[in-house]
Amino acid sequence: MSQSTLTIKNLHVSIDGKEILKGVNLEIKGGEFHAIMGPNGTGKSTLSSAIMGHPKYEVTEGSITFDGEDVLEMEVDERARAGLFLAMQYPSEITGVTNAEFLRSAVNARREEGDEISLMKFIRKMDANMDVLEMDQDMAQRYLNEGFSGGEKKRNEILQLMTIQPKIAILDEIDSGLDIDALKVVSKGINNMRGEDFGCLMITHYQRLLNYITPDYVHVMMQGKIVKSGGAELAERLEAEGYDWIKQELGIEDETVQ
């Protein structure tokens, strides 16, 4: 596998006719860990949903390409099979479909018909990943996300990440609602993915996550744009000083996108 590149240029995105993203530029390559930080309601989650193809978000301008291919032309499942992954903030619950059944379908969706992963091999793979995430084995047979606690849902998102092995993953507030022990476990799972073939974009409010997963690049998003980029030290300064200094530096009035 070679390094992948996800390129976002001048991206404008609306929901219900209201523009949320107003020209985002970002490039993520295999091997790189990026973090996007910023106050509530500035469009961070909108960016992740637009990349994955959430049905409610409309791209009105700009482009997203993945290894030169036009992502915006692809269906959601094609984006996923091309190598994109989104760990969702609010994963859906699906009654009657076991976690294992779902995950096996996801793995087999990437394989040719007739070349499906054997049940034993799949179970071994899933079990090993569940061990890393300190998940109870019976989670495999529970219905997908149904009745899962907030922390269990987050672990389950990372279990999918580890099992599917995408090229570029976006983690939308994977740290929210996790206690410190759970955060450590989830971070361990994500760090396990590190390598030249894996790029990652973490969306978070808090610097706390970045103590466990060190980013190469940190971006600050405000009013639907990336307004500042830097290294890991930028996150530390934001944690210490908040966002006001950036607003002052850039002359941004204190208003957020709804």
Binding site: M52, G53, H54, P55, E75, V76, D77, R79, A80, R81, F85, L86, M88, P91, S92, I94, T95, G96, V97, E101, F102, L103, S105, A106, A109, R110, Y143, L144, Q160, I164
Partner: protein, 436 residues
């Protein structure tokens, strides 16, 4: 009603009855019903208009088909439904209107069990069959379709289990429809005498396309004192076959009837499933799954009527509607005056997969007694687009995502079906119906 066109006349009924050496009582029951049929009204399933449906015009009353002699001659789809437990044991195969294979183990014969085709039952077990056939459970003159059925019945089976006989392996009947001219007027009687126990599974399989077909099917289950009947059915009749199917049971004290019904026909269907809990302490459980597609119109009434004290009735139905399929799910729990300490519970859920699919769930509780418990739950909804988005975001195709959601939706019923063979079959049938 004078405009009704009948595809048969009285002399055809006489000829058919004579050709099968039927006893006199059966011929007179047929003729009596036939004479009444024209003046009786159609049944009135709630919220579905059926007066334009074709229940009366079909190619021929009876078609002669070459009988199968070996199970291996059956079409693949029929071989696939035969459970491992029944394969060589106790099975009846009917090809259109022609009885084909009948296997009954020596063990059952020695125990006095009767399992045979309709004509043979009428001929060779006339006295016992007459007691049950359209006497206690379903009457010929209820409406036009029961009368037509009584007049024209041309197939089916009779299963009688004597007192204290417990049959472990399921007994199976497979009705194969492979002649476009054939009309199915099948009658099934399952009579379980006191303290007996039996599982019966039936399949309706069309392997032929037809322009205009009719299936008018009636089942009567009679569960004696403390008897247990588990009744499974998987119906897969073809498009353009108009089906009226009435499966009804009555219970003596402490008897139990479990229904496991998979109604997967591709044509318009009215299904009526009623259990009359007559005896004190008797019990009924109905589990039903349905998948509708194309332009089908479907009406399902599931009803449990409590007459005896301490009776319990449970209804659980889940249906998936695709394309432009329309369905009405009526669930009725009726507790008669005097049926104290009874419990009536029901749950109906419909999932619609497309904009044009329609579903309607009507839970009805009719209670004439104070000292009872009852409950119902019903829902009708569309597939959540966010569920599909979530599944697809893992690389799963839209089609596969829908398949998973549908399986998930039906799983609470399918996974709890008491008959293993029916569970397995339905999983396969649902798969096929959903994929196309």
């Amino acid at each position: 009603m004078t405009e009704t066109k009948w595809s048969v006349d009285e002399s055809a009924i006489r000829d058919f009855s004579a050709a099968n050496n039927e006893p006199e009582w059966l011929l007179s029951l047929r003729l009596d019903a036939f004479n009444k049929a024209a003046d009786l009204p159609l049944p009135k399933p709630d919220k579905t208009k059926i007066d334009k449906w074709n229940f009366t015009e079909f190619g021929a009353h009876t078609v002669k088909s070459a009988a199968y002699t070996e199970l291996t001659q059956l079409p693949q789809s029929a071989q696939a439904v035969i459970g491992e437990e029944t394969a060589s044991q106790n099975i009846y195969i009917q090809r259109n209107n022609t009885p084909s294979i009948l296997n009954v183990s020596d063990e059952l014969k020695e125990a006095g069990v009767i399992f045979t085709d309709f004509s043979t039952a009428a001929r060779e077990h006339s006295d016992v069959f007459q007691k049950f056939f359209m006497q206690q459970v379903v009457k010929a003159d209820e409406h036009q379709l029961t009368a037509l059925h009584a007049a024209l019945v041309n197939g089916g089976v009779f299963l009688y289990v004597p007192k204290n006989v417990e049959i472990k392996e399921p007994i199976q009947a497979v009705f194969i429809h492979d002649d476009a001219q054939a009309a199915l007027f099948n009658h099934v009687v399952v009579a379980a005498d006191a303290n007996s126990k039996v599982t019966y599974v039936e399949n309706y399989i069309s392997t032929v396309k037809t322009e205009q077909g009719v299936a008018n099917i009636i089942t009567e289950v009679i569960a004696g004192d403390n008897a247990q009947v588990s009744y499974g059915a998987v119906d897969t009749l073809a498009e353009n076959v108009t089906t009226y199917v009435n499966r009804r049971g009555i219970t003596s004290p402490n008897a139990r009837i479990d229904w496991s019904l998979g109604i997967m026909n591709d044509g318009n269907t009215v299904s009526e499933n009623v259990t009359n809990l007559i005896g004190d302490g008797s019990f009924a459980d109905t589990k039903m799954v349905v998948v509708g597609r194309g332009k089908q119109s479907l009406n399902f009434t599931t009803k449990v009527v409590h007459f005896g004290k301490h009776t319990e009735g449970y209804i659980l139905k889940h249906g998936v509607m695709k394309d432009e399929a329309k369905s009405i799910f009526n669930g009725i729990g009726k507790i008669e005056h005097g049926a104290s300490k009874s419990n009536a519970e029901q749950e109906s859920r419909v999932l619609m997969l497309s904009e044009k699919a329609r579903g309607d769930a009507n839970p009805i509780l009719l209670i004439d007694e104070d000292d009872v418990t009852a409950g119902h739950a019903a829902s009708v909804g569309r597939v959540d687009p966010l569920q599909l988005y979530y599944l697809m975001s893992r690389g799963i195709t839209k089609q596969e995502a829908e398949r998973l959601v549908i399986h998930g939706f039906l799983a609470p019923v399918v996974n709890n079906l008491p008959i293993e063979n029916v569970k397995k079959q339905l999983t396969g049938v649902i798969e096929r119906k959903v994929r196309q």
